[in-house]
């Protein structure tokens, strides 16, 4: 995934136009479901405001709430680990695996483990992890990354799933019936749950006052894993913390409505302490979050609750697919989070947007996503991560446009050239002209007209 560029990858995605249309329409349907669910709550905008304020407050008092959470969790019998980065996170999990001599591992959805590259890390150590979220299992069998944080296999159609299951689960070739395929996955995963010795889950909300945490799924796979295995490891980015259990009343109402238009996730499971004979671990991960917290312009990106509403509404995401963002978290939110992790590798992402602003409007915690995209563009330019050709062009443009007489001369010359030598603009090297006609250059500018009519 390194070294990819959004524009190029998007162009490849769009080459299959019917599939692009299908992808766009499918996600637009989810956006419409979100609208309908939000319309059903007269207090929707108030909830967003509350959620934003709770998260802002929490980010400002993070140290206290994290310590409170750790103390309460430990008192409940949970082992708390702190990971400075992805490597640390992976090592902590591997140590637990080794110490307990574990062979069989199941994992429910956790974008954090994708961010840290846990599956690849464990695979290299000879440990296989089975993803149990249906969408994640599909992409795992295909050796692909999730293309969406809530709907990991949204880039695939049912025939793709059928082919994948035929190859790996030996289902009938060409049987695209969703019920048949889901049943096959259910049987396959049931076996994995029963065999499993260790279950990894994500965390949607960690409650400081109780030391408990909430995991939201629609498939119940987090619960199946955590209840069947003798060890449960929950992984969380440190921004998942909320001060009080009552705040769940705000966030749980916003999360599923924003994500899929459901009033609430099918399973919102509260974990507080290990059952008898079970080990429960929580890994709290930084991995660049402290750095982002220290960036005044970008700090509030840490309010994100990973609902993916910004993905579904984004006209660019819907037409370029999640893989074109070449990062664990794609879409508009990914484009403001990932440059923090690696500016060079992700310098293209803040430019993969028209700055239309729809993302900020759907965000349930009111992150000013499109404004941060604009600000990242400035940072990336200042830090020297933009193409030198672009820089020269922009400098030239700024020079001309700051000088009115030169601007008028250049404007007139351009119009004259376009009339006299149309091929200068109308050629394949001009990306505008590839699929669009050039504007028809007029004989006179508005200023010319204005001066003439003033004289008359």
């Amino acid at each position: 995934m390194k070294g990819m560029n959004h524009a190029k990858a998007a162009e490849q995605f769009i080459a299959d136009e019917p599939r692009t249309d299908w992808h766009d329409e499918t996600l637009w349907f989810v956006r419409q479901k979100r609208d309908k669910a939000a319309h059903g709550l007269p207090e929707w905008e108030q909830l967003r405001e509350w959620a934003s304020q709770i998260k802002n407050h929490t980010l400002s008092n993070l140290n206290n709430y994290l310590i409170e959470f750790e103390q309460k969790a430990q008192a409940n019998g949970i082992t708390v680990h702190w990971a400075a980065d992805g490597a640390d996170h992976n090592r902590i999990i591997y140590d637990i695996i080794q110490k307990n001599n574990i062979q069989k591992i199941v994992k429910s959805k956790s974008m954090l483990t994708e961010e840290c590259g846990l599956n690849e890390f464990l695979h290299a150590k000879g440990v296989e992890t089975i993803d149990t979220d249906l969408g994640e299992r599909i992409v795992q069998l295909r050796h692909e990354a999730p293309s969406h944080i809530v709907l990991p296999a949204i880039h695939l159609k049912k025939q793709d799933v059928s082919d994948t299951f035929h190859e790996h689960l030996h289902t009938e070739k060409g049987n695209n019936d969703p019920q048949y395929l889901t049943e096959a996955a259910r049987q396959h995963l049931r076996e994995k749950f029963i065999e499993s010795e260790l279950a990894i889950t994500g965390v949607n909300f960690a409650v400081a006052e109780t030391g408990g945490f909430v995991v939201c799924t629609n498939e119940g796979n987090a619960d199946m894993g955590a209840h069947a295995a003798s060890i449960h490891i929950a992984c969380m980015g440190f921004e998942k913390i909320i001060p009080k259990a009552e705040h769940l009343a705000v966030f749980l109402r916003l999360l599923a409505r924003s994500a899929t238009g459901q009033p609430i996730t099918t399973y919102s499971s509260h974990f507080k302490k290990p059952r008898d004979g079970q080990q429960m671990h929580i890994v709290i991960v930084d991995n660049g979050r402290t750095k982002q917290l220290g960036r005044a312009d970008f700090r509030n990106s840490l309010k994100c609750i990973r609902c993916a509403a910004c993905f579904n509404t984004c006209p660019v995401y819907r037409r370029s697919g999640g893989h074109s963002y070449h990062t664990a978290v794609a879409g508009p939110i990914g484009s403001i989070l990932n440059p923090n992790i690696d500016m060079k590798a992700n310098a293209d992402l803040p430019f993969a947007s028209t700055l239309c602003g729809s993302c900020s409007n759907v965000c349930p915690v009111k992150i000013d996503i499109h404004e941060q995209l604009w600000k990242w563009r400035q940072v990336l330019t200042e830090e020297g991560y933009v193409d030198s050709g672009k820089k020269i062009g922009m400098k030239g443009m700024a020079f001309v446009l700051a000088r009115p007489a030169l601007y008028r001369f250049a404007g007139k010359a351009t119009r004259w050239m376009m009339q006299t030598f149309p091929f200068i603009a109308k050629n394949k090297l001009n990306p505008w002209y590839k699929q669009r006609e050039m504007p028809e250059p007029p004989k006179q500018s508005f200023r010319d007209w204005y001066l003439k009519q003033k004289k008359a």
Binding site: A7, A10, E11, I14, T20, D21, D24, W28, D35, H39, P42, E45, T313, P315, V316, R319, S320, P350, F351, A352, S353, T354, L355, C356, G357, S358, N361, R377, Q378, L380, T381, V386, K390, K391, M394, K395, A398, F399, L401, A402, R403, P404, Y407, T414, R415, P431, W432, Q435, R436, E437, M438, P439, P441, P442, S445, F446, R447, W449, Y450, L451
Partner: protein, 245 residues
């Protein structure tokens, strides 16, 4: 009321008819309009590309052209938004602040400042309205489909005053057209696909024109329409409000 007419550079050079309509319309509505002769560009193309540090020359020039007006009006939501959010001058912070708070996009000026309730205009055509993002989500010219708030639209309010005009909206009433400034060339494939999809939704309504309050969106959509030999034309709202046809 002294009104400074701010004509974005590409409108001045490529779409003078939009500027002429804006000028004539403001005159008809009783404004004392003048066009400062040394204006060029607001600096948005640089700033949105990450080069806001290079736009100080444009800022300075803008301020020297527009420092003596009660209001500054432009037929472009996008350029107005840029001035409102990013115009700065360390030497003259008060002048810059005055300009930022007195710069208006044409339709918001007509509705909010002039409080226009009737316009003597006719346009006997089927028109599809394209909502431009910066005007809508940036300047709040109309309510946004994402927010759970009462609906309103300043441009539509004005279009309803035009005799003969049949207005329609696409199914996704406020989806971006894909222009996005330099996005249109650096992300050419996505940009064009977004434009094609907007046009497809308008075509269902059998319109003759796609109209908008931002010429940049229209330039992009026009480029696609013309390449595909479509009979649909693009038109700026100022041209409609100033027309008697």
């Amino acid at each position: 009321m002294k009104v400074g007419l701010f004509i974005p550079c590409y409108i001045d050079q490529f779409y003078p008819q939009v500027a002429i309509s804006t000028f004539q319309l403001l005159q008809k509505l009783g404004c004392d309009v003048s066009f400062p002769l040394n204006q060029s560009c607001c600096g948005q193309p640089m700033a949105n590309s990450g080069f806001s540090a290079l736009s100080s020359g444009c800022d300075k020039n803008f301020i020297s052209n527009f420092n003596c007006f009660d209001y500054i009006v432009a037929p472009s939501g996008s350029c107005v938004l840029h001035i409102k959010q990013h115009l700065h001058d360390e030497q003259n912070p008060q002048v810059a602040a005055h300009i930022r708070s007195h710069v208006y996009e044409l339709t918001e000026f007509l509705v909010d400042v002039l409080k226009v309730e009737a316009i003597d205009a006719s346009f006997y055509h089927k028109v599809g309205w394209h909502t431009s993002c910066h005007g809508q989500r940036g300047l709040q010219l109309s309510s946004m489909s994402e927010l759970m708030v009462p609906s309103f639209s300043k441009p539509e309010k004005l279009l309803r005053m035009v005799k003969g005009l049949q207005l329609s909206k696409p199914l996704r009433a406020d989806e971006c057209c894909g222009f996005g400034g330099t996005f249109c060339v650096f992300e050419e494939a996505v940009s064009v696909k977004m434009g094609k999809d907007r046009i497809k939704e308008h075509a269902v309504n059998e319109i003759e024109y796609i109209a908008s309050a931002d010429v940049s969106c229209l330039m992009h959509l026009e480029g696609i329409l013309n390449r595909n030999g479509s009979a649909v034309k693009t038109i700026h709202i100022a041209e409609i409000l100033n027309s008697n046809a």
